[in-house]
Amino acid sequence: MEFRTQVTVVPRVNGDPVRTTVSPRTTLLDWLREHRGLTGIKKGCNEGACGACTVLVDGLRMNGCLTLVAQCDGREITTVEGLSPPDGSLHPVQRAFAEHDAFQCGYCTPGQLLSAVGCIAEGHAGDEGTVREWMSGNICRCSAYPQITAAVLAAGEGERR
């Protein structure tokens, strides 16, 4: 076992393998924004309190600020940029957010969207109380919670149909 001051890993970002060499302290959040130019992920609190940096890692929602790139070798990272299909249409969860007016300023929205995709995939989108509990890691300071909850419920309903 060798300790290294530079780490080379190959995560897949929105489907494409990306070979990268980073300082071990580089977080997934900073790497996506600063190295990959994917600015959908947001640096809200940088301590795991706000959820604005939520991405999917191997399909599970996680905080980019609490994840090192060094931990992502071979992992599939999905950001909001990879959520919609290549034809430019919207992901069903994005459509539900638009239809339910589930955002105001939009800063938290990329994290909310990915968290919602994860929440639905986990089976935690069956009723309002469950959605509120399992979406609590995403803070919305515009307080669009009723609309976000409605959008997640609608998108979850659409997936089950």
């Binding site: 076992m1 290294r4 001051t5 300082s23 996680m62 090192l68 890691g137």
Partner: protein, 335 residues
């Protein structure tokens, strides 16, 4: 964040060898370590990632115990039907901890090693006020400042912070043990003895020590005895989700054929720097009916050594009520 060197351990022996250098930190989920690094609470030169070690199984040992690997995530533990069946309090505590996305990363091994949430402690270096945990000998700004969320048991003039882990409270009530490995080999630590109050730490000569895991040791798994008891966890907090406890309680109950309590255990959370077991109440509960009227005075009588500070006397009755609710839930009644 200070730079560090990184390696992925290929074996437990790799980790133990790496930890012989005291400038080495273990990385499991990273949800706590990364914040320590940002704030300067820890400044390791080397970080050893244990991602390739497995250690995340949740299973039985053939009947007498539930065994949970230290790398099992809080969502994995909380979502396990086996844990829900045999250790309901732990299942509930895991799912009431943090947020869904943190629980996908945070591990049960790392969770019990989290450090207090005292805002005077959790600040970026250089620490602008006294904090004995950050600058030994500097004092405690919380005692002179705000301390409504601090300890009502076991605090000292040097520190009054509480251990915030939810799962640790459940593990203490369930009589779980942690299997750990270190330079001296393997050993087992009862979870009810794992953490140290400040008063206990002072008696060891290391007043800011928070647990009995020695430097260089790694938690491998937890063992929870399966006794047929039912258990529950009650968390009281200022918002309904994604918040640390003001107080919490884990209770286990076994009812006799007469419907009365045959055995019970209680651990309180966020009232001390360790889960606080109520041994006297546990003994006195035997033979009582599982009703609020019967339980409340017994739990109340077990709290005379509470020593609240000026701002947190409310925690004592709140903890008592949480304990009664946990016992009633464990007994299968309404709480």
């Amino acid at each position: 964040m200070k730079d560090f060197a990184y390696a992925r351990a290929g074996s437990v022996d790799d980790v133990v060898a790496a930890l012989s250098d005291p400038g080495t930190a273990v990385l499991a989920g990273g949800t706590e370590l990364l914040n320590w690094l940002r704030l300067g609470i820890a400044e390791p030169d080397r970080v050893v990632d244990i991602a390739d070690l497995g250690l995340d199984d949740i299973g039985g040992d053939g009947g007498s115990a539930l065994v949970i690997g230290a790398r099992a995530t809080l969502n994995a533990v909380g979502g396990s039907p086996l844990v829900a069946e045999h250790a309901g309090a732990l299942s509930s505590a895991c799912l009431q901890a943090a947020s869904a996305q943190i629980r996908h990363r945070a591990t049960l091994g790392g969770n019990v090693l989290q450090r207090p949430r005292c805002p005077y402690f959790r600040t970026e270096a250089p620490v602008p006020w006294p904090c004995n945990k950050r600058e030994p000998g500097s004092g405690c700004a919380s005692l002179a400042g705000r301390h409504e969320r601090q300890a009502v048991f076991g605090g000292t003039d040097g520190c009054v912070a509480v251990q915030p882990s939810d799962p640790a409270v459940a593990l203490a009530a369930l009589d779980a043990t942690a299997d750990v490995v270190g330079p001296a080999g393997w050993r087992s630590i009862p979870m009810r003895e794992f953490h140290l109050s400040q008063a206990e730490a002072a008696a060891t000569g290391e007043p800011m020590r928070e647990h009995r895991l020695d430097p260089g040791e790694l938690i491998l798994s937890y063992r929870i005895p399966v006794r047929g008891d039912r258990s529950a966890y009650v968390k009281v907090r200022e918002r309904a989700s994604y918040e640390y406890a003001i107080v919490s309680a884990a209770g286990t109950v076994r009812l006799g054929d007469d419907g009365r309590i045959a055995a019970a255990r209680i651990a309180l959370g966020s009232v001390a720097q360790r889960p606080w077991r109520l041994d006297d109440a546990e003994a006195a509960l035997v033979g009582l009916p599982a009703t609020r009227e019967a339980l409340l005075p017994v739990v109340d009588a077990a709290l005379p050594d509470a020593a609240p500070l000026a701002q947190n006397a409310f925690k004592v009755p709140m903890a008592r009520n949480a304990a009664v609710r946990a016992l009633l839930l464990a007994a299968g009644g309404a709480a």
